[in-house]
Amino acid sequence: MKRILGVALGILTAIGGFVDIGDLVTNAVVGSRFGMSLVWVVAVGVVGICLFANMSGRVAAASGRATFEVIRERLGPRAGLANLSASFLINLMTVTAEIGGVALALQLASSVHYLLWIPVAALAVWLVVWRVKFSIMENVTGLLGLTLIVFAVALFLLKPDWGNLAGQALAPAVPDEETASSYWYYAIALFGAAMTPYEVFFFSSGAVEEGWSIKDLIQSRINVLVGFPLGGVLSVAIAGCAAVVLLPAGIAVTSLSQVILPVAEGAGKLGLAFVLIGLVAATFGAALETTLSSGYTLAQFFGWSWGKFRRPAQAARFHLSMIITLLIGIAVLSTGVDPVLITEYSVVFSAIALPLTYLPILIVANDPQYMGKHVNGRPVNVLAMIYLVIILAASLAAIPLMIVTGAGS
């Protein structure tokens, strides 16, 4: 019985932890402007993140080392430093976006202006990183994030024309009001939102934090292969709600307040309560993960002592770097720049940086010196190579499309 509960907890946490501010905003924007015609990108992204989370977890369990530690050893300091710079900067952007998301969600719940919530949110993130045990942190935010299922519930309650929605999803076409360039730009954005780089660093470092060995791999595989696709379904539900309520009204999503209107429409104030809890939990959880990821990447590259399982006094540089990251995030948000805008840019830049973060994992997952007999099997490698091509294509097309479409406007 305890075993089953453990497995269930793992899956539920994976579902609840899947959605972050990038998914929330991008799926809502896409649903409100393109209907369901970009849902296939979510499917492609989910398969990709399953593949790479699986590989990075296997690397951590088989070698006992987290991803970034191995990147520098295996690829040398120059490639490692390039990787670190890109990953850290994008991570920093994502931390800023997530904290902004927490503040915006709290504003929706309280009508206190979001700028006042920003230091509160950042302080709360820091306190949890400082004191709360890793597994408790993961489980609580993951389970609370499950309340975002209300998007799927609201979609049912709205009684949409399912045939029409399915038709849009299965026979994708660019809507009349939009151009092909903006269609593909948002395809890349959606892909970057699903395949967030920080997920991979966090996953593998978390495996070391929790002391995974090979026998824990089965649990992690179930979490990933069941949890992430269901998380993907949540993302699609967010897009569906926007497509059913906002698209016909001619509303294009530009702020977080528009994202929740379909839920209120379908499920009233009760649904609203759930979605607000879910928003705060999902963005807060993601803020924790991205903050920790910035600490992990720096510490693992430079060989510092790291980990939440250590006393902060024994991982001083690790904790200091996270404090500085949060302070930078607060500073950027205090300039009044729109957090939703930061989010939209962060997902596209995540897509641009994807090759840098995934290629090293692919290389290491094939290296018998680290993996022993747990190297990638043939089918995994074939799939991984296909995805490498997709990732490279998305990364190269992103900046030209950003210029041509004016960042999707």
Partner: protein, 131 residues
């Protein structure tokens, strides 16, 4: 010109670039100290003539810190500014490098200790064990 042959010594053959550089160094409690950024070798200066019969260079220390910058971009910091882990402190070389001494006694750990004493220990809960 001929170099003095390597004296026959029992032990393993290591590749310095593969097994030493960019490897994690752990102290005798298993706590990470740093990554090996560079190596200090005894022996003739590069660019000078090597006289016959010179003994082969020996690793005197693992280096860490700002020397990473010069390793990637070129150049060489002066000897007095290098942060060293003496080779005699190395206990084992494997997937990671295990040192035989505690991190507290090492120069290489001074940044960690400084940040710990000045910043982290001053924040409440800094010494709290999370387990």
């Amino acid at each position: 010109m001929k170099l003095v042959p390597v004296p026959p010594i029992a032990g393993r053959t290591l590749d310095a670039q593969l097994h030493l550089l960019d490897r994690q160094a752990l102290d005798n409690d298993g706590v990470p100290v740093t990554t090996v950024d560079d190596l200090e070798l005894s022996g003739p200066e590069p660019g000078t003539e090597i006289p016959e019969g010179t003994p082969a260079p020996v690793i005197t220390a693992l280096l860490t810190g700002p020397v990473l910058g010069t390793r990637i971009f070129g150049g060489r910091p002066p000897s007095s500014r290098l942060i060293r882990i003496p080779w005699k402190d190395v206990a084992d070389v494997g997937v990671v490098i295990k040192l035989g001494v505690s991190g507290d006694s090492l120069d290489a750990d001074w940044v960690e200790r400084w940040i710990r004493d000045k910043i982290i220990a001053r924040i409440p809960g800094g010494r709290h064990d999370p387990r």
